[in-house]
């Protein structure tokens, strides 16, 4: 089954950034960066602190707008697509600091991931009441399946605030999966997790990838990235300095210089 989904490097690009540039006043945070993510790949975005990873990630997710350049998803430009239009085309994300709805339970949070699939607006919901109720039942079952996948089915009715951070991260990933994404965009998913939790997360992402989900991931934890990613893009000072398989990137002199040159031990961190 791996053969079906993991034909790395051969598929058409699912996500493509062309000459992406972001300026804040006089500062160029991301400078003419191009890269692409093919269907089925796990692509990592790394770089020393202040390299522009987060800015680039925000451009891809639509939280920030490009100053120049263009972004394509499945061959179509999504440069000006509003934030709320993205989940329905199959783009799903998590946040650097877990961003759940504190007033809701675990289950309700995951259910929010199904929002684009449910009838929009009161009138449409009431006019198709049977359909609406059936859909609600269907997505609740699916949400419970997702919670089972992340091992949290018995915490479904807990309040978010009562959960430890690691669990909250899992809820967020379950919610991101509810969108049934073609691409999962993860912003430092291992931040704030302990060693075991990070290892579990890695294993979980690998399973998701084997099921056919493409992943773009920004992360500080280099070991985590080396073990997980098929391709790695390295940024420094807002410019792409290297791109390739983890082994290639690891031995790339520019990359070593970028990491060691400024902050000695960061590469092992």
């Amino acid at each position: 089954m791996n053969a079906v989904t993991r034909n790395i490097g051969e598929g058409a690009p699912l996500l493509e950034v062309r000459n992406g540039t972001k300026r804040f006043g006089g500062l160029v945070a991301v400078n003419d960066v191009s890269f692409s993510v093919r269907g089925g790949e796990v692509v990592g975005l790394i770089g020393p602190n202040g390299a522009g990873k987060s800015t680039l990630f925000n451009l891809v997710t639509g939280v920030a707008q490009l100053s120049a350049g263009e972004i394509f998803f499945d061959g179509k430009s999504i440069t000006g697509l509003p934030l709320h239009g993205r989940p329905s085309i199959g783009m799903s994300r998590t946040f650097q600091i877990v961003r759940l709805f504190p007033g809701m339970t675990v289950l309700q949070n995951v259910l929010m991931g199904f929002h684009p699939q449910l009838p929009d607006g009161l009138l449409r919901t009431l006019l198709g009441l049977r359909h609406s109720l059936r859909e609600e039942r269907r997505v609740t079952e699916k949400a419970m399946e997702l919670l089972e996948f992340v091992g949290m089915e018995d915490l479904a009715d807990e309040k978010i605030g009562e959960l430890p951070y690691g669990k909250q991260r899992l809820v967020e990933i379950a919610r991101a999966m509810a969108i049934e994404p073609r691409i999962l965009l993860l912003d430092e998913p291992a931040a704030g997790l302990n060693g075991t939790e990070t290892a579990n997360l890695g294993a979980m992402l690998r399973v998701l990838n084997e099921r056919g989900v493409t992943v773009l991931i920004v992360e500080h934890d280099i070991d985590f990235m080396m073990g997980l990613c098929d391709q790695i893009v390295v940024l420094d000072h807002g410019v792409k300095i290297a791109e390739g398989r983890p082994s290639e990137v690891q031995s790339n002199e520019k990359v070593i210089e970028a990491y060691l040159g400024r902050r000695g031990g960061n590469a092992e961190n």
């Binding site: 939280v63 199904f114 309040k159």
Partner: protein, 333 residues
Amino acid sequence: MRSLFRNGNLAIVLIVVVALILPALLSSGYQLRMVSIIWVFALLAMGFNLLYGITGQISMAQQAFFAIGAYGFAMLQAKLGWSPFVALPVAVVIVACVAAVIGLPLLRLRTHYLAMATLAFSLMMVGLTNRWVDFTGGSAGIQIRTITVGDWSMSRAELYYTLVIVAAIGLVIHNFIISGHLGRAMQAVRDDETGAESLGVNVTAVKLRVFVLAAVYAAVGGIGYGLISRQVNPSFGEFPVIVSLLTIAVVGGLGTRFGPVIGAIVVVLAPQALARFGEFETLIYGLCLGVFLIFLPNGLSGVMERLGARMLRPSSAPGRRSVTKNIVEGGAR
């Protein structure tokens, strides 16, 4: 979900049954008028609950929509000679349009700015109703005739039954929204707008729709109040109405399914019990509002849920709690 929906509806059926046999137990027209007003305020509070309790958007224009609904209904009949059955829906549509027109620019505002802008709108409307005597009848207001068809005209009791049914429909819709995906999206907007947006919730659309819906609830309530009072005057849109509304919302429990009804019952009836204290009424209102806000943030609904949960605990399986409870505890943030 299905069972929950049924479970909630059972409570509504119970409320309606009690409400319908209530007039038989009342001795005076005055008492009938009081219990009628409960349903008017319940409707007003349901809209406010959806808007503020669930979606987190405050509006101090609810009393203005309440008044505009009643004025529209009165004026379409008095000035254009329309039948009440046409005037009623048209008045509601007018309010919905006004809400949409002012909501579109105003809902960009947040928290206090939204509160003030909506308050400015309602003060402007009240100012107009007081001053534009030729059009609105000034402080004397406009008469609203009893609904009449041929020889039959609606008695006070019949008006009461109608209000109960309208309020029950309003409550079913209110609870249906809160319990399902629409309410979830609204809570998401309340908790974290950007988070909601990135999950595909069109935040602007959600806010505007709820704002219009809340205005419609207020308008229907206002028309009901006009029919009970047999007139409409500027006091419909004045500050005491929003004070009552806030007290109902807070005492009943913000963001709960039955809070608006429970709150309305208490806030309409309690002053009757306190009537002999007369001049203490304002003070007691203020203290109640404060005490509930500080000590019982989930209002009487929260108290009843807790009592109910305690009574049911031995029989119900541990672990899985009802969604109601979660919503109750979610409260307004």
